[in-house]
Symmetry: C2
Subunit: 280 residues, 2 copies
Amino acid sequence: MSTAGDLSRFSINQMTVKQLSLPELVDACRDLGVVNVGLWREPVQAHGVEATAKLVRDAGLTVTTLCRGGFLTATDPDERAAALADNRRAVDEAAALGTEVLVLVSGGLPAGYRDLHGARERIADALSVLGPYAEEHGVKLAIEPLHPMYAADRCVVSTLAQALDLAERFPAHQVGVAVDTYHVWWDDRAPAQIARAGADGRIHTFQLADWTTPLPEGVLTGRGQIGDGAIDMREWQGHVETAGYTGAIEVELFNDGLWARDGREVLAETAERFVSHTAA
Amino acid sequence: MSTAGDLSRFSINQMTVKQLSLPELVDACRDLGVVNVGLWREPVQAHGVEATAKLVRDAGLTVTTLCRGGFLTATDPDERAAALADNRRAVDEAAALGTEVLVLVSGGLPAGYRDLHGARERIADALSVLGPYAEEHGVKLAIEPLHPMYAADRCVVSTLAQALDLAERFPAHQVGVAVDTYHVWWDDRAPAQIARAGADGRIHTFQLADWTTPLPEGVLTGRGQIGDGAIDMREWQGHVETAGYTGAIEVELFNDGLWARDGREVLAETAERFVSHTAA
């Protein structure tokens, strides 16, 4: 039942097939020849961090990323301290799972605030604490710029240029960026920013999702299956590889239609799409 | 019943109160002391172009913009010719209405295409025909960059930088840009691009809408009432005025909630919000 084609660089992000439990996901990966997974904190915590670490280790799976830390824009001191503590736990979990990369979604504007620049500066403050902590645990932080449609309520870092402006205040082995096609495909500056990131060893993960329309209400669950939308995956793969990235390529889809289907079927389809839309 | 505060620079875009017929809109403007309107082609055509021109002229209203031309990205020769012909008609209508500014929404990717750059080049080709035609009729074209969330299906021009890269191939009195807070507020490069546009006399209109979440399905009808969202209107007004813009400030909201209410009430509320959220 293994998929034809080279899956050595393919990683399935757990959210793509969130209908599968962790043991079901691991079984399906084994059956399909998938060797890399990206995990999310909530299902990992529900299964137990140590139990998950053992499960994936025993199955020979590589954990390419843990999603996600971040949400670092609060102005309230108590909220801010709680966010830092939670991010330290996320680093601990990443280390326990044996992944090198913790993905950070920065957080949106606090209620009533209209200052994107100030919010980005609070992220920098938090990274000055979290970067060294991550390094001590052998984990790299990846700032993920999210599409500008999330700037108010989810992530004030909207472009790779902004993410790199933050990351470059820290050593590359502490803080880099996540390049996700869904978030950057519209940006004619992104190829140059990928080169900038790669020159400095700051591309900590590369993720794929396609852009399909119309967007659903709330715009969170419209990430399209590879090949269904407007994005040329090989073009973006070319950009990150020209910039020196040789790591796993993770497919991360939040999609109500895919979640309503059989998870194993979706995993098999995603692996096939990966093979047919990326360069070996 | 006139609104307290200076409305001399306020312009009500017709779509904000699309529940009002053109005669109702003109009556409401007179009652509230509103002296500027932005019009849309479809309701103007339905009322008759000449009849609309007479209606607004007799009421002493200034037409600040006509929305909209554009949709210039087709590859099919017949579709392309039809788009150019329709844009010439839009210029004729703008001239008949006595407005200097025709707003252009560029168009999205043709079905099956994934080449944003190529689509932008087809817009430049079209402008080389439409720019001189507009000049002959005393009309200026305003390329409106739309938020990146519309890049695939509506407008491949996503930033002021891209819009200016196109506009600057032509004289400023032929082609400039539309600055709309809803589309540019997330972009930390936008203030510098506004300065670039202003230095060259290319800010052909300035429009306001606020950013509110969650976005509705299809993301077309979520433009928030001034003051309800994440955007600091005075900050953006400051940017365009520092860049030399002294024209009307148009409020253009597409919002199901506002459309469901009494149109006169919405117009009065919008005028009040304008006064309280902009600098006199």
